[in-house]
């Protein structure tokens, strides 16, 4: 059952030291990764320097997908185990996933301008990311529409799972649609151009940095969510004992 009283002491004590460490490591890695990407990566033969946008765009895309998967998995766990910490994880991962999707879309369109002359090109990956952002915003809007945390958690979990099931279908259909409407010989943002070593390692470094950043954000948001719920639970107990 929804164990509002499950006291996540173990989680809180575990993450208390972890949060500062992750934040510092993430900051250092991202700073280094960005300097490495901007400063030392040679120009790519087709796009010239604009390839460097990849070092923010691709990690943001991948980590936002990881964030959405975190939401989906913890939603599933919440529906099965009914443990409130799983719901806290899903609710906390949502804003981060939204922010990362937003970064991915902004950098994608900034990449489009010099390369194809327009800020938005209906590239398959970008379009799928757009609808993933829509799913996340829908999740957050649905959750905030409920007063009671219990109902918000359950409704959100169901929507997140339905979204997770549909995301591959959306990706497939957008890619299928893309092959019909996209002119041939189109340089996709990443992936197919096989990356040589000097392009590949900065990407991996930045990816790990972004992952650590996601971890730090997730833990921080979860801790504040746990504090909020403990506050509301204690407030309810106080009102009950005084009334």
């Amino acid at each position: 059952m929804f164990s509002t009283f499950a006291n996540p002491h173990r989680f809180m004590s575990l993450t208390r030291p972890l949060l500062p460490i992750l934040t510092v490591v993430a900051a250092v890695m991202l700073a280094a990764g960005w300097i490495w990407a901007i400063g030392f990566v040679p120009d790519e033969k087709y796009q010239g320097p604009t390839v460097q946008i990849m070092y923010v765009h691709v990690p943001a895309a991948m980590v936002s997908l990881a964030a959405y998967s975190t939401m989906a998995i913890s939603s599933l766990l919440y529906l099965i185990l009914k443990h409130s910490l799983a719901d806290v994880a899903a609710k906390s991962a949502a804003p981060i996933a939204a922010a990362l999707s937003f970064i991915c879309l902004v950098t994608g369109s900034l990449w489009g301008r010099p390369t194809w002359g327009t800020y938005w090109i209906w590239d398959a990956r970008l379009t799928s990311m757009l609808f993933q952002l829509f799913l996340i915003l829908g999740y957050m809007a649905l959750r905030s529409a409920f007063q009671r945390e219990q109902e918000a958690a359950r409704a959100g979990a169901i929507l997140c799972l339905v979204g997770a099931v549909n995301l591959p279908i959306i990706k497939f259909s957008v890619e299928w649609w893309n092959t019909l409407h996209q002119p041939a010989g189109f340089i996709s943002l990443t992936g197919d151009s096989s990356l040589t070593a000097e392009f590949f390692w900065p990407l991996m470094f930045n990816l790990i940095g972004m992952m650590v950043l996601f971890g730090a954000f997730l833990i921080a948001t979860m801790r504040s969510e746990v504090y909020k719920r403990q506050y509301e639970a204690k407030l309810a107990r106080l009102n009950r004992s005084t009334s």
Binding site: G138, I158, I170, S173, V174
Partner: protein, 218 residues
């Protein structure tokens, strides 16, 4: 079997008696179709190219107008509680309600497609144009039903349902518009229909469980 048919019949009668059920979505759909040429201009070439896409977008928007009421009508008067006690499985009840609503609101739109195609100056308008919109509208109502079940307990949740289910309509619009384009321009069709049918079956397989779980939100 008779039990679930009773719910289906009740839902149909009440949606019909409600009056607005049948005409609202079809009118909304027709309105959108009639507005487009005024904005785009009536050159036949342009309009017929636009027709498939616009028909499916209009279908999505028109369906959104009634999705909110699929479960809310019964939930707010307590009828849903009574149906839960009738021993029928909640998954079956939700599917039956969605299909009844689709019959009253979604099917008329599918039947209107040839008319819309004519208004959009499509080249070959055959009764086959109904097929893609027929399959697409079922999928839209099933996924829309999931959105409706999640927000049944909320007041004024129409716009929220639209935001929730919009991404779920992407495959329907893509495959449906493509297939409708083939039909309207007289090309061979059928491959797209299988993809559309696959989407419908996926929706039919997944959404009842989501809806049933959502309505047990106590």
């Amino acid at each position: 079997m008779k039990g679930i048919l009773a719910i289906f019949r009740r839902e149909l009668v009440l949606a019909w008696a409600g009056g607005s059920g049948l005409f609202l979505p079809a009118a909304f759909f027709a309105g959108t179709i009639f507005l487009a040429p005024l904005g785009v201009g009536a050159e036949p070439g342009l309009l017929s190219r636009l027709a498939p896409g616009l028909i499916f977008v209009a279908l999505c928007l028109a369906s959104l107008t009634t999705l909110e009421r699929i479960f809310q009508a019964d939930l707010e008067v307590g009828a849903l509680d009574q149906q839960r006690l009738s021993g029928l499985s909640m998954e079956l009840i939700t599917v039956v309600k969605v299909l009844a609503h689709w019959l009253v609101s979604g099917l008329p739109i599918a039947l209107l497609t040839p008319v819309a195609a004519v208004f959009m100056r499509a080249d070959t308008v055959t009764p086959m144009t109904i097929l893609p919109v027929f399959l697409g509208s079922i999928t839209i109502f099933l996924w829309g039903g999931v959105g409706a079940s999640l927000t049944a307990g909320l007041r004024r949740s129409g716009p929220l349902v639209a935001l929730l289910v919009l991404p779920l309509f992407v495959p329907v619009v893509i495959f449906g518009a493509e297939e409708l384009n083939h039909i309207l321009t007289g090309q061979t069709f059928g491959a797209g229909l299988t993809l559309l049918a696959a989407n419908t079956l996926a929706a039919l397989a997944i959404s009842p469980f989501a809806m049933a779980l959502a309505l047990k939100l106590e």
